[in-house]
Symmetry: C2
Subunit: 364 residues, 2 copies
């Protein structure tokens, strides 16, 4: 996860002297979990961490669903004293999305659902699983907010549509409520890179498809940042040379499991709040049903989730607010990848969360 | 070459009832050809076609250098009665770039320079080879114009810098005079897709690396058009469904040789008129030395050669003219891929060529 888009946030956090201390990774048992496609994921598990303390009125909980190839640490750049999400103020729940290798995934599920036999997932499976954790496991009826980046932002939007009364606010960093065809075909390129390696063997590999994982990293490199980022030489501050950047990205996914990465990519491709039961495929209807206050934060130069698409979605969300991150760091800007934007994101999200009104906050 | 970017032009031409009749493929012997890197390409050959008749004053010749993965037929959408380049008016020389499988290439060069042992090339090797064909082979001192798309546009710009007196005009469709870092890393993704297939075996394959070639097609799919093109559903008119588009692109390079495609990609990555001997790495100096009239035609939505980059180059070229193709078809718009733009490109290039003044034209 060195070079994945989500890891820019991690790298950022690692550089920071005020990195939050590692929280204990906990597991929530989902039992035999029925997926949206009707299949049963047996003995399903959701891995998560919590930080801070839930207040008496249970109104200070913030959910952070992990992005593609990320995990419960992906939002560390937003967490800490003085940052957007202070554990002294908020109860922070950071979940690992299904398929990421920590929650139930192809790589960690025993036969007969191991690896290539793992069922395909939907974003709504994550929402259902996480809702059970929040409502049943933690006894929280209404979250203060769901904050997510990239696929985490997709989850945040789906939360707002599936459970409109279950949060006061939503922050969607560089994510969209629907995957548009451009994104779908770009993900075909990502999947194709892994599958080009016969070692992958239809998912039934006996050793990691290293060549495919390297090709995956090289697939993402030109998508992750903007042309301006490369033109202006920002990489010189990050890796010295283009060649170093290429090397870093080529090895950026070698510590991840190929089937897990494919599982997440397929889920990403199918993302669409309009297909939520009851919405009849109507995006305007789905987004119009949102009750939460929504802050949309696309990046001006995001080549995954175009700012124009997110803006168009915003026009369908009652009372939504828009802040286009003025960065050349493309998609990675929303994950903490742009050092200059990290304080900006922290301040804006902090103010947004405060505007939602926390009652009985132990720190106040 | 079904789905490669250059093939949109071919596909377009195939649909046209007025497709030019196939011209005989000829070969120009370059002998033991010294490359810019000092290596010798033994018994080198340049494959080309000609159409029309060279006039007595030898002033009506137009050179069309092939784009990446394309060939001498890639400009058929511009050729014919009523089109930009009428064989009744002009003498048309369509060359195959070195490495494309028709001129000297990894795939068609015997040992000891076969396949993986083929030397790496520079755009200037093409210019040197083509200049010999034009000047020595065909006895033409000054071309009317060099017209090129994509890597053909790169060749056109390098012609104008290397041999500033050798043409009156240059038309650069969706190409740039230098490969910028963003394009360099995107091409790393393209190369990585092929190399992910162990069948490729460092270029020493005994059967085609089909999985790698499929990954290459999927690499290109999201780059070729614009996000708007996908959003607006243009693909519905072309292939019916996204899935069909994906299938077409996945199989689009299966009839090409992997080493040939890599050879062209490496050449593309190194493109830079500023490194022309005598220019000292200075782009402004190189572009400022151009004597030809230059018409730059980037596509507004090109994700390979950004219109902004081409415009910036244009400001360094004395008297250059700019027409930004108003298309959502991304890079492919410059290769005839956008049906609505084909008549526009033809009219504009026709007028530009006429403005250059042909003397002793047999058809007039």
């Amino acid at each position: 996860m060195i070079a994945g888009v989500s890891t820019t946030g991690r790298a950022q956090a690692q550089q920071s002297k005020s990195r939050p201390e590692a929280a204990e990774l906990k597991t929530f048992d989902l039992g035999d979990f029925k997926l949206e496609n009707g299949k049963i994921l047996t003995a399903a598990k959701l891995a998560y961490t919590t930080r801070g303390t839930l207040n008496a009125s249970k109104t200070n909980a913030i959910l952070l669903p992990s992005p593609y190839s990320g995990d419960h640490t992906s939002y560390d750049f937003l967490i800490g004293p003085g940052r957007a999400i202070d554990p002294a103020v908020y109860f922070i729940i950071a979940t690992n999305q299904l398929g990421n290798g920590r929650s139930s995934s192809p790589s960690n599920t025993p036969a007969p659902l191991h690896g290539a036999d793992f069922p395909s997932l939907a974003i709504r499976d994550d929402i259902e699983a996480t809702h059970r954790l929040v409502a049943q496991g933690l006894g929280i009826e209404k979250l203060l907010a769901v904050v997510g980046f990239s696929m985490g932002g997709q989850q945040a939007m789906q939360w707002a549509v599936s459970f409109p009364e279950a949060m006061r606010g939503v922050v969607n960093l560089c994510g969209s409520a629907r995957e548009y065809p451009f994104g779908f075909v770009r993900l075909e390129g990502a999947k194709g890179a892994i599958k080009a390696d016969p070692t992958w063997n239809g998912g039934r590999y006996t050793e990691p498809p290293v060549a495919g994982l390297r090709a995956l990293g090289l697939h993402w490199i030109a998508w992750a940042y903007s042309p301006e980022w490369w033109r202006d030489g920002e990489y010189k501050a990050r890796g010295g040379t283009i060649e170093k950047q290429v090397d870093q990205w080529a090895s950026g996914f070698l510590d991840q499991d190929a089937n897990d990465l494919l599982c997440q990519a397929v889920k990403w491709q199918a993302n669409d709040v309009a297909t939520t039961p009851g919405m009849g495929g109507d995006l305007a209807r789905a987004l119009g049903s949102i009750k939460a206050k929504v802050l949309l934060m696309p990046s001006r130069t995001d080549q995954y989730f175009l700012a124009a698409d997110v803006e168009a979605e915003g026009r369908l969300i009652p009372g939504s607010r828009l802040f286009v991150i003025p960065s050349t760091y493309g998609h990675t800007a929303g994950g903490g990848g742009d050092p200059a934007m990290v304080p900006v994101l922290n301040r804006m999200i902090k103010e947004f969360l405060e505007s939602l009104g926390v009652e009985g906050n132990p720190a106040r």
